[in-house]
Symmetry: C2
Subunit: 395 residues, 2 copies
């Protein structure tokens, strides 16, 4: 096991009706003038925004609003938010929504107290030293941004998707009410679930040895998802299944299951090019890419860790004479699961095109180099993974 | 799943040599004048205290010392620490040691800023509103106090063992270096491991339904212990096994595996009377009590959760015609495991006496009432559990 730091100081208020406490929580964490940041109409229509405003007003907290966050959130709205914060002397940013709203709020939090361009932090040319405090009210279990120090933003010029990460933008509090996710369409629910599973697998496939405790914790999260996701696809109003998924989504990404080990985020990276180009849901892209990545890995790494996944998570019988057969059986089971919850499993189902592969690889931007990770990838490897994703079928 | 709050803001610095960063961490969390609080000679002999002092001095942090913490830490030393803090204007308490040193440090932290008797917080007659900040350097994986808001102290008059819990005494930081635990004797290592497993099982046995995610996380921790503990008993210098156990010990008790569900701390309560009377190791007492408690529960509750434990954790085959048989098989496996790592499994091996049972039950102090929990217990039930623990054998 490697040395590590773990720091997850977010206060989580989990359960029914917890959004009614938001005013109190903003106050507790020092906010008096809030930017209320959200996406589309749903928070308005559902009455959630009204409940939030009521709670803020009750605590004498004033606010300005900025809606309109889109999936794969854009830099344009971030700039708008930064200007608004500076003009209105905002001292706290409250995101209401999913990972997109939260990531956009985090970017605004960084930019609002910075003289330069917030994008500096995303392209890595500056290191953040301050940020406004951020709180969240989560409405979809997916990105894990409610408990993470990360934010991913897409810059319109060139559709560049880049991330920034610093403890400065870890939410001070996150309100997780599973009931707020009950109105989500099945497709979005499944996309979120796939993202959660991917957050675990990106940590699970590691060359660091002797990491039993985090292996087991990773497996615990995915096993939970295998049980609970089909239940919410069948009955969107299943509060308890929603609750298990929502907490699993936080645990999957605040890094408690990933400490002390190298991680491999290549599937996320390879997917990011898909959602940047086609504006498809990140989770849907992951459903197509991740099993294809696994098949590549099964050909280029000893298969013991993949066989461990197959047996411990997907209930396969270990084939002691042929561990690779067990590994491949596990990948098949994973793809069947993804398809069963309504996820695409190949390019066609996702709406992606084989002829775009050279452009996707080019955008990935490693030139003649290699990525790090469980198996290092060069551009030929990435091409092969995209091609596998074109052809993937259930079996 | 029940509504819950989860808040674990401790900064964990995990790995080799991390104690050398203690001065920097005390400074980061606002300390300038430290009470260095520890137990016996081992921290001195090993050179750990010298390394700590060197790191503090390097950051211009002054300190006073108070050693002598005993297992099942006593109120006498707490009073001494409180006086010292007040006299010396201490602003930060640094515990170096195991749960006893940390719990004692937490008690001093509460008392040092309180006009009345710190025991008020332990007997529940006052509610804490402030405490000095506490940091820890952990030297045994066991109590989980390094990441918990709890402290247990024994008052000499009447040997009363009572706990206090508040976020005010959650450590600001905890340094976890598994190498520091390598010098522990096998018996102490196993006692600590048993305590860790008990922290999980006290959360696992719950009447709250629909808690798959925390069930799975609980199982993950115990499965880790089943693999790693025998390895350190065999080779005390196995750093990686020590590391997995150390992180498991934190995860077992910062409540990430216990949120959203009723918990049952009766085994801990029943054990506390043993360690208070005989001054035996808490973990050893738990090894005797917990399986006996499970046997009582198997007779007074449907056995499905116990059978889940048996199959998912101890690898038993589910007996679908007779779930209770599976449950009992799991309890047997648990007792065999405990014995295999050198733990006592009955009164005689622990050094406890059957004739003391009436006094133990009396001290437990529920009179003609009942405890709460997975199965509510009256004094007859508690008597029966102690008696089962007298007679327990391997099978």
């Amino acid at each position: 096991m490697n040395n590590f730091n773990f720091y997850s100081p977010t206060y989580f208020a989990f359960g029914k009706d917890r959004e009614k406490e938001v005013g109190e929580l903003v106050k507790r964490f020092g906010g008096s003038r809030v930017l209320l940041h959200y996406g589309g109409q749903s928070a308005q229509k559902s009455g959630l925004l009204d409940r939030v405003k009521e709670s803020l007003t009750k605590e004498n907290i004033s606010f300005v609003e900025l809606g309109g966050v889109k999936p794969n959130p854009r830099s344009g709205l971030v700039y708008e938010g930064i200007d608004l914060c500076k003009k209105e002397n905002v001292d706290f940013i409250l995101a209401v929504g999913g990972g997109s709203s939260i990531d956009s709020a985090k970017a605004i939090a960084l930019g609002a107290v910075y003289e330069g361009d917030f994008w500096d932090f995303y392209e890595g040319s500056a290191k953040a030293v301050a940020a406004l405090p951020v709180g969240t009210i989560l409405t979809i279990a997916a990105a894990g941004s409610e408990g993470s120090p990360d934010s991913v933003i897409t810059k319109e010029e060139g559709m560049l998707k880049r991330g920034a990460g610093t403890d400065l933008i870890r939410p001070k509090f996150s309100i997780l009410n599973p009931a707020l996710t009950q109105t989500l369409p099945a497709y979005q629910t499944a996309c979120g679930a796939t993202d959660i599973i991917a957050h675990v697998f990106e940590r699970y496939f590691s060359n660091t040895e002797e990491v039993e405790v985090t292996d087991r914790l990773c497996e615990a999260v995915v096993l939970t998802m295998l049980k609970e996701v089909p239940r919410v696809i069948e009955n969107p109003n299943n509060y308890d299944a929603r609750a298990n998924i929502m907490w699993a989504g936080m645990v999957a990404h605040n890094n408690i299951v990933g400490v002390g080990r190298e991680q491999d985020w290549n599937s996320h990276g390879i997917e990011h090019e898909l959602s940047a180009l086609y504006d498809c849901a990140h989770g849907a892209g992951l459903a197509v890419i991740m099993p294809a990545w696994m098949e590549y890995v099964a050909e280029h790494h000893d298969c013991m860790r993949m066989a461990q996944m197959a047996t411990r998570i997907f209930g396969c019988q270990m084939n002691f004479a042929d561990p690779k057969a067990t590994a491949l059986e596990g990948i098949k089971a994973f793809r069947r699961f993804l398809s069963s919850i309504g996820m695409p499993i190949n390019f066609e189902q996702l709406g992606a095109k084989e002829e775009d592969i050279p452009a996707l690889v080019e955008k990935f931007g490693i030139g003649d180099g290699k990525t790090g990770g469980y198996v290092a990838l060069d551009k030929n490897a990435i091409t092969e993974i995209y091609q596998t994703a074109v052809r993937a079928e259930l079996s």
